[in-house]
Symmetry: C2
Subunit: 479 residues, 2 copies
């Protein structure tokens, strides 16, 4: 009964995916709306996912010699204006502080939408010689990009992210760093979030404001819509010139250093929800799940049940797992739906009959099958199931993407797929922005996601204009 | 020679303590000024200290069942105004966003100076029954309080901190929480930062805006000036009433919950610098030092030296220590001063003669004595020295405070001590704000720090007005 009730509270994915998404965010207590327009409250369960994400990514960064710093949250307007393309890209979405300490400010301050300019100002102070290079910096901060329509985790006026900013002696080294960090993101998405994704280069039109090259990771959500999951940028020496950052090179000449930046954000939590979730709620990848296994005592009032459940819980904790035992007064059925809703990867049920048999029941959140297993080596068995949940999630996401990726060989075919089939379209492209814009306009929003690292030659001509094709592009609608 | 040069670059503490402080901040590369008025850049070495602080404190919070969340950085002006005392306290130091997405905002947004109001708005949504209590929340965020004169870590318009916000069923439970968190801070200061400190209750005049009771931890800096190192507040149900937060109690009546908040900030790094540092630079408490031991190979070009130094470094790392080996081309003398400046607690020197003897030299940053020790069990010996550095730092700080604390039994004595002796003054007080203000004005800034938990009865009368004394107060100048 209780279960029935819980499930009814979520809209089905197939009925209304957007509504299903907000239902899950709200009911799994990941985030909440706030009285501040466009800003969200990240609740304990959602924030715990973010902390696990941070811990894992931060370790990956530090292993590559990246150091964390903290830059001011405000950018003087004149500083933001130093790099022309950059300010044009961000000016429309800025929040502006005009009053400080009850006085009108002589110079307006922008709440950072990103911090390239602040890093450049600092780099100018601390970079003088090739011995000062590379500088591999990162910061974990909040940023603000004013948004009209918002959705928790996916698009909010304020969000949390990390932004890496690095300076290098040569173009080659900086370009390598740009690719290396994309690879870090790709590995992190697959190994930690269980999200396999397309990676590639953005077209000229879709590049970051001020970048010479932008790379992207583009996971596909369950409904076939793409989510730009993270980007890395190679800036060349454009900012260095605008900010007059120079260094004395090994050959004693004065040179401009080459720059990169790269970032991922709390959007990743949106990607987790929409890649793995189902009509019963959230499904969390085991590596970031705040609770990896929930222990539920059945007929807990009977002698020995709570003791055994506690013993199992302690054994799992001792094995380094994140465990919760729920011995509240709610019925087992209510608890089953509750932790399914919350996406806990593995459920362990133990009752009087199980205890007699020295066994318990393990249930995977993905397959939802019951497995009767021995209590001997229970921690290892739970770990095995967590590993198989991870593998299954990756495989499911791969299958979903394969099913929802179609090749278009002609303009008509492109339009037909865009109209009828949600997902990615693979199609050849001449390299002209005009064709990208035309395809986007006529389809009502199908944009180039990226030129993937592994291109195939689907035909010789651009699917839009018929001229000679330069690249295979992956196209799709996006969040 | 190199050493001479390094040391000359720092102003002596006794000559100009303020200048010494900024010299250390700058030369140890903890922080840097930015082009943003009143805001600082926290550099990698400074930020690594902050990360170690966060890790330790966050563990202490979580052990007490505190959960991390994230609230928006903006507070609508009307929300800040809901609690009268609170807004009066913060209005003068607000940064105000008036423009968003190129439009004048219909309601101005305050960049959070603290987040009681946002938490209350959220609590109203999520607290309905006694079953929803307590709520023990915390967030690690940046806040903004506009300042005219700033000093890195001590007073900046933006700073980083944690702010805990909790709601409880009863006054008693909330009051207990307020004291418990003060105790967490006290333990953390002593056990982790090696800073013993006075703890106590703020007078009416010095309380936090909107609080019924404010508790404080007040370490004394090397020069005798106090630093308010952290505060915990009991709010009663004042905010709950202003925000209409109610819950159904166990007896089925509708009640207002009782609230606390508590916070410490990047100021703590200022406290570390000014409590432990000396004329050779920083001295870092081992538990938060980014580098706990620096390994310096002597005559490193000689056969076997670098190999042995590397071997030792790896052994120390394997023992869980934070180690750096410096095999750069700089002279050992230069390296010695460099890592003294950076406050590395233990230096390990190893050269050809040491290797012959299966020994090395350990130097404590505090005593600076050379200790010849065997390379057998080197990790244990380094750990022992780190422990003794910690103990010595605590003892030194205790001695400094004892030496710089004086009792005043009369008005004249109070003025004389205030004039002649830097440090704390212990003196009796009648409980009237008027007397506090008079003492502050006439001494040019000696304020009540707190009514310590352990009061002594120094006399029967107030040192200022001669009326009956209510409390022993600790007085002092502050940062």
């Amino acid at each position: 009964m209780a279960k029935q009730k819980m499930v009814e509270q979520i809209t089905s994915m197939d009925v209304d995916f957007a509504k299903w998404y907000t239902d899950v965010v709200k009911k799994a207590e990941l985030a909440d709306y706030s009285g501040v327009k466009g800003c969200m409250i990240i609740r304990p369960y959602g924030y715990a996912i973010w902390e696990n994400i941070q811990k894992d990514l931060d370790r990956r960064f530090k292993e590559l010699g990246v150091e964390n710093v903290y830059m001011p949250m405000f950018i003087p307007e004149s500083l933001l204006q130093k790099e022309k393309d950059h300010v044009e890209g961000f000016a429309p979405e800025c929040a502006v502080v005009t009053i400080g300490g009850q006085n009108q400010l002589s110079e307006r301050l922008i709440v950072r939408p990103t911090s390239e300019t602040l890093f450049c100002e600092h780099f100018k102070d601390i970079i003088h010689s090739y011995r000062d290079l590379p500088k591999n910096y990162n910061q974990w901060v909040n940023v603000c990009r004013w948004e009209k329509t918002t959705r928790p985790f996916l698009r909010t006026s304020e969000f949390l992210w990390q932004e890496g900013h690095t300076m290098h002696e040569t173009e080659e080294e900086a370009r390598e760093m740009t690719i290396r960090m994309l690879k870090v993101y790709e590995d992190f998405y697959r190994e930690t979030l269980a999200i396999p994704a397309v990676v590639g280069r953005k077209t000229e039109k879709e590049k970051f404001a001020g970048a010479k090259e932008t790379y992207t990771i583009e996971p596909m959500m369950h409904n076939g819509v793409a989510l730009q999951g993270g980007t890395t940028h190679y800036f060349g020496d454009g900012f260095a010139k605008a900010f007059d950052i120079t260094y004395t090179a090994r050959d004693n000449t004065v040179k401009y250093p080459h720059q990169t930046s790269w970032g991922v954000s709390t959007r990743m939590i949106g990607a987790i929800i929409m890649t793995h979730g189902d009509d019963n709620g959230l499904i969390l990848p085991p590596n970031v799940a705040p609770i990896q296994v929930v222990v539920i005592p059945v007929q807990q009032h009977k002698e020995g049940v709570l003791e055994k459940a506690t013993e199992i819980t302690n054994a799992l904790k001792a094995a380094g797992l994140r465990v919760k035992m729920d011995d509240s007064d709610n019925s087992p059925g209510w608890k089953y739906s509750e932790y399914e809703m919350k996406g806990v990867p593995v459920r362990l049920e133990v009752g009087p009959r199980d205890i007699e048999n020295n066994s318990c029941v393990l249930v995977s959140r993905v397959s939802r099958n019951k497995n009767f297993v021995s209590l001997d080596n229970i921690a290892d068995q739970v770990k095995d199931m967590l590993q198989s949940v991870h593998t299954e999630l990756v495989e499911r996401a791969n299958r979903n993407r394969a099913e929802k990726t179609n090749d278009a060989h002609s303009y008509e075919e492109f339009l037909q797929i865009a109209e009828e089939k949600p997902g990615f379209i693979r199609a050849m492209w001449c390299g002209e922005t005009e064709c990208e814009e035309k395809l986007k306009d006529i389809t009502g929003g199908v944009k180039s996601r990226c030129i993937p690292f592994h291109e195939e030659n689907l035909s010789e001509t651009c699917v839009c204009c018929g001229k000679k094709a330069k690249h295979m592009v992956i196209w799709g609608r996006q969040y």
